[in-house]
């Protein structure tokens, strides 16, 4: 069945673990809202398990994790694995923050769909999310 015009992209934006820098995630949330998406913000200090649980209940298209703590090599694989375990790997995982280039390659191999680092223009984030949701197709 084709997606209806009323289908709105749903995104969870999340902060995980000991990372209190939430200015960036709030700017992204606002940007996505202004692009007409429903954005669920989970607040600070969530665990990967909580994010997976929330993403399943909220039936989001995309999980966006903002991470500036350096724990990305732990956090992202846990979220990807959690989704697979729940049979929810149609939920796309993206991220942003401060992540070394080598790690970006490894994380994408591990199943993270897209990573956008500092200095990414807001419009690029919107375009990226629209693109990966369209590529995944209706579900």
């Amino acid at each position: 069945m084709e997606a209806q015009a009323a289908d709105r992209i749903r995104v969870i934006v999340a902060k995980v673990g000991l990372d209190g820098h939430d200015r960036g995630v709030k700017v992204v949330a606002r940007t996505l809202r202004d692009a007409g998406m429903d954005v669920i913000y989970t607040g600070l200090h969530r665990t990967p398990e909580e994010i997976v649980e929330a993403a399943v209940q909220e039936d989001v298209d995309v999980i966006g994790v903002s991470i500036l703590s350096g724990a990305h090599m732990t956090v992202f694989p846990k979220i990807v694995a959690g989704l697979r375990q729940r049979g929810a790997d149609d939920i796309l995982v993206v991220g942003g923050g401060v992540i070394p280039d080598d790690d970006v390659v490894k994380l994408k191999e591990a199943g993270v769909k897209e990573l956008m680092l500092q200095d990414t223009p807001p419009d690029a984030i919107v375009a990226m999310i629209r693109r990966i949701v369209a590529e995944r197709g209706p579900r």
């Binding site: 209806q4 996505l32 202004d34 998406m37 913000y41």
Partner: protein, 324 residues
């Protein structure tokens, strides 16, 4: 998960599996036509849950109260589902749904299901698809379904026509607002909660509410009537939540005892019929705005017909269209 037809999701919903529930909630929210039969099937299975509406002005502490209620209901071994509503942007149609921020501690418990919904232009405090979402969660077997409305102003009282028990949350320090909403939202309360009672000025809010209620009592007509209690709570001190649950249970028992539950169900049925009719009309309107209805709109814009006459013709046209 590839596209699963809605009717195939129904057995999973009845087994209370999160993914089928979540997927059907999305389709209910989107008004997906394909989901109609599945939602109808679940409506037929629903009707067991106690539906509790929680409303109040923005910042009064609704989300915090809901999170505490859910934790406490779980401690009493009752399952709970929450539909939490936040506003959509009138400009972009997008939203930021922040009710989960207060509900972090509920994660990982299969006896709790939390879903955020955006109003999408719907007035009255509820979102489009809220009532269908309640059906899905009710049919899934959750004992209590809580609807947390958007932060309301004076007149958003729809939740009272959707819930068995309506809880209105008031916070201290909003004295003028209490005055302002005396003729509106406060009247629909079956249970009053005064939040933030660790604050010194909370007693004044409690007293004002009790005074308002006492005025109503003097006009009682002798029949057994439910007297809405005023329950003080403090999330900071973790106080009062048990008393809120007891008050909700007392209210449910009173509804059953007095037979008032039948009248409530009738009110809910009326509201749902009207709301569903509005949805059908709105869908048709959106779909045919540039098609069949365009001529009518042109006439109206040029003032060659009146809004009322045009509406009558519109409804006529839809009826002739064979729907319903």
């Amino acid at each position: 998960m590839a596209y699963v037809p809605s009717l195939e999701l129904v057995p999973g919903v009845l087994r209370r599996e999160p993914r089928p529930i979540a997927r059907l909630l999305t389709r209910a929210e989107n008004g997906t036509a394909e989901a109609r039969a599945a939602l109808d099937a679940l409506f037929a299975k629903a009707g067991r849950a106690h539906v509790v509406g929680i409303t109040g002005v923005p910042g009064s502490g609704k989300s915090t109260l809901v999170a505490r209620l859910a934790a406490q209901l779980r401690a009493r071994d009752r399952t709970v589902a929450i539909v939490a509503i936040d506003p959509s942007s009138p400009f972009s149609g997008g939203s930021i749904l922040g009710d989960r921020i207060r509900m972090g501690d509920l994660g990982g418990d299969p006896g709790v299901f939390v879903r955020s919904m955006a109003t999408r232009g719907s007035l009255g405090g509820l979102a489009r698809g809220t009532l269908e979402a309640v059906d899905v969660l009710d049919a899934a077997g959750y004992d209590i379904v809580i609807i947390e409305t958007v932060g309301v102003g004076q007149d958003e009282v729809d939740v009272a026509r959707a819930a068995h028990t309506t809880v209105v949350v008031s916070a201290p320090g909003l004295g003028d607002d209490v005055q302002a909403i005396k003729a509106g939202v406060l009247e629909i309360a079956d249970v009053h909660v005064v939040s933030k009672c660790d604050r010194a000025d909370a007693n004044r809010t409690i007293a004002e509410l009790k005074n308002m209620l006492a005025m109503g009592l003097s006009m009682a007509d002798g029949k057994e009537r439910w007297h809405p209690p005023v329950v003080p709570t403090s999330a900071l001190k973790a106080e009062g939540v048990d008393a809120v649950i007891d008050a909700i249970d007392d209210h449910r028992a009173a509804l059953e005892r007095t037979g008032e539950i039948v009248a409530r169900q009738a009110t809910i049925a009326q509201r749902r019929l009207l709301r569903a009719s509005e949805d059908i009309l709105r869908d048709r309107f959106e779909r045919e705005r540039h098609g069949a209805i365009a001529g009518l709109l042109e006439e109206l814009a040029a003032r060659r017909t009146s809004p009322h006459s045009a509406a009558v013709r519109l409804l006529e046209a839809i009826r002739l269209g064979g729907n319903p």
